[in-house]
């Protein structure tokens, strides 16, 4: 195995049962996995396979029925909601399929959001948010509201927001699901470069083969179980190195 970094996430015998009416649905049926630092990990599977449920539980948005989730040495399945909020604030960044920007705020304000929650000073957080927006190529769109931007631009704001507070772990749930092919690659390149540059960890949920190509650790899921797990060498250098030194300062 090429990655010998310490594990950031380890999951043991994770199960999730939904009760819909009188019927019990097994969304996850005993998942064990380890994700190491610096990895881009793809949770790959068809819809209804349980990959999104797994991501939600790793991100502390949903409680498992049974099983352990250890992130950076802490059992997040045992945390209450306030502790989880605090944990998410300091450890996670999120990229969503539907961008989930706040419609009333400008691009800059949206990117500032995680820093506002952390209580960062106004001047510092504006500087950090500006740098991120510059990196994602939206320097001239900082005063725009989400409704005044294309899908690709909105997702780039989403990426800037996910990375701005330098979280060690990024969760991306079908990040390119609403984007065209060209924009999909742009966005994926952007995220991968940032993750490699910062040596952070990213977990991507996708059903798209081309997206899965970006991962160095691919976990195939079907019917709530891991059916195949592959690790491979880190991505080719042109993806690991920031384009034209744009991200040097980040």
């Amino acid at each position: 195995m090429s990655n010998t970094n310490p594990p950031v996430i380890s999951v043991k015998n994770l199960k999730k049962v939904y009760t819909i009416g009188t019927e019990r649905v097994m969304a996850l049926n005993g998942v064990d996995l380890t994700i190491r630092r610096g990895e881009i990990c793809c949770l790959f599977g068809p819809s209804g396979s349980g990959k999104s449920t797994l991501l939600n539980m790793l991100a502390g948005l949903e409680k498992p029925t049974t099983g352990e989730i250890l992130i950076n040495g802490q059992r997040i399945d045992k945390m209450n909601e306030s502790q989880l909020a605090e944990f998410r604030r300091t450890n996670f960044g999120f990229v969503f399929q539907s961008y989930n920007l706040l419609p009333t705020l400008t691009a800059l304000e949206n990117v500032e959001m995680p820093l506002i929650f952390r209580g960062t000073d106004h001047a510092l957080r504006q500087k950090m948010a500006m740098q991120m927006l510059q990196y994602v190529g939206l320097k001239d769109r900082i005063r725009h509201k989400p409704t005044q931007m294309s899908g690709g631009q909105q997702q780039r704001v989403g990426i800037a927001r996910a990375f701005v507070a330098r979280p060690p772990i990024i969760f991306a749930d079908e990040p390119t699901g609403n984007l065209d092919t060209h924009t999909t690659f742009e966005v994926m390149d952007m995220m991968s470069r940032m993750v490699k540059k910062r040596n952070s960890t990213m977990i991507i949920v996708t059903h798209d083969n081309e997206i899965a190509e970006y991962g160095d650790h691919i976990i195939k899921i079907r019917d709530g179980r891991i059916i195949e797990e592959t690790r491979r060498d880190p991505q080719p250098p042109e993806l690991a190195v920031p384009a034209a030194g744009q991200a040097d300062s980040l």
Binding site: E81, S82, A85, R89, S98, N100, T104, P114, I116, G119
Partner: protein, 442 residues
């Protein structure tokens, strides 16, 4: 999250749904106005009563009178010893003795029969003698056989053979006070003083009269409106001359009460009851208009509570309006709240955000409501002066509605508090939303 950032966000949201926010604020404005106007009317009534009481006599004054005792040895009198004792009580500014002699002023055929009041002119500033022009009477106005006369008393010179005529009425048909019929300081006919008036009613011989001169007219409507004021030593000297010439024996028992009445001027309204108690303990009876005032204040408190209660119904409706708006807001912003939660916003911050938004609605409504209340209050008072609402007024020029600063501050504070309380349930609802469900809904 820093408080300032929450505040900024809350202000941003306040202006987001302008029409709905405006309507909710309008509700609070009406609620605030209802309470403030209602209470201000109670305040106006109390103000009117207090002013009326003040016109009857100072609110810091206590009247001291004898307590008639069955035991002759224990009987207390209104004498110099009492004055010394009263002056020594804490919070007493001055004990004010008054002597009275029945008599009359004579001007040609007309007489003004009225008792002469003798005061201690070394304490004149405490008697509350105010001249017609608003300035206080001074001791030099009572030197020699000088006197001061009440404004209304000037009208009361009449010819006993013809009786009381329209000239003796100080008010015209419209109820306004007339100008003085003549200047008593420089009268056309000389004014003299007598102690026995029976001659003027057609009996006995013409009494011996004494030269006196008027040095001022006392303000109309005051405590001394029906009075002739002299220095007590001058008055006593004149009376002695009279008794000597008329050969009258002075009753010894009557002499023990040197003063016909004694007043005590207290430094502050709040100390009146305490001083009254001290005087009662000395064995005298006391009376002060503060006693009435306390009753009035109690009654006014009840009236205000009832009026305020009526206003509070409007406030309650406004509070429900705020709650409704804020609950609607949590429905609309479910996704936004979800995103904030996923990004790790503290639950307490979300709670604060919604509470603050509700409080801002309350404060905005409160401030506007206070502003409008002042306008309506001014309008009411205008109408009470011009006659349209005069029947509700306590008297000429008395305001119907008074908004003291505390009422304005309490109004704004209370509406903010109501906003906060109304926002509590919606805020709690916002914090309890499932982040996952919130971001799922497309």
């Amino acid at each position: 999250m820093k408080f300032f950032d929450i505040l900024k966000m809350a202000c941003g949201n306040f202006l987001r749904r302008k029409a709905r926010t405006l309507l909710t604020v309008a509700g609070v404005v009406i609620g605030t106005m209802a309470v403030v106007i209602m209470i201000s009317i109670g305040e106006g009534l109390e103000y009117g009563y207090t002013e009326q009481l003040k016109s009857w006599g100072s609110l810091t004054q206590i009247e001291v009178s004898q307590n008639y005792s069955s035991n002759q040895d224990e009987q207390k009198y209104l004498d110099d010893e009492l004055i010394t004792q009263l002056d020594a009580i804490e919070h007493v500014e001055a004990a004010l003795p008054i002597t009275r002699q029945y008599g009359a002023l004579v001007m040609g055929r007309k007489i003004l029969d009225m008792s002469f009041q003798g005061i201690d002119s070394s304490k004149i500033e405490y008697y509350g003698l105010e001249l017609d022009d608003g300035s206080p009477a001074t001791a030099d106005m009572l030197t020699g056989n000088s006197y001061l006369i009440g404004y209304t008393s000037v009208f009361n010179f009449y010819d006993p053979k013809r009786g009381w005529t329209d000239e003796n009425n100080a008010w015209d048909e419209e109820g306004s006070i007339k100008p003085l019929p003549f200047d008593p300081i420089n009268p056309d006919k000389k004014i003299k003083m007598v102690f026995d008036t029976s001659y003027y009613w057609g009996g006995g011989t013409k009494p011996k009269s004494y030269d006196v001169n008027c040095t001022g007219v006392l303000k109309q409507g005051g405590q001394y409106d029906y009075a002739i004021i002299m220095d007590m030593k001058s008055l006593e000297a004149l009376y002695k001359k009279y008794t000597k010439s008329a050969g009258i024996e002075i009753d010894k028992e009557q002499q023990k009460n040197k003063y016909s009445s004694v007043y005590v001027e207290v430094d502050n309204m709040d100390n009146v009851t305490e001083v009254q108690q001290a005087i009662n303990d000395m064995g005298y009876q006391t009376w002060s208009s503060t006693e009435i005032l306390e009753d009035v204040q109690e009654q006014m408190g009840m009236i205000q509570a009832v009026l305020g209660g009526i206003g509070a119904v409007a406030f309650l409706v406004a509070a429900i309006g705020i709650s409704n708006t804020m609950v609607m807001s949590t429905y609309e912003r479910t996704r936004e709240i979800g995103i904030m939660k996923v990004l790790g916003c503290r639950l307490s911050n979300i709670m604060s955000l919604f509470l603050l938004e509700a409080a801002i609605i309350g404060l905005a409504g409160g401030l506007l409501g206070i502003g409008f209340s002042y306008a309506i209050s001014a309008l009411l008072n205008q109408l009470s002066n011009s006659g349209a609402l005069a029947t509700f007024s306590m008297g000429n020029g008395m305001p119907i509605s008074v908004i003291p600063v505390w009422l304005a501050l309490c109004g704004a504070g209370f509406s903010t508090l109501v906003g906060l309380i109304s926002g509590f349930y919606p805020a709690l609802r916002a914090t309890r939303l499932s982040a996952l469900e919130a971001i799922k809904n497309e």
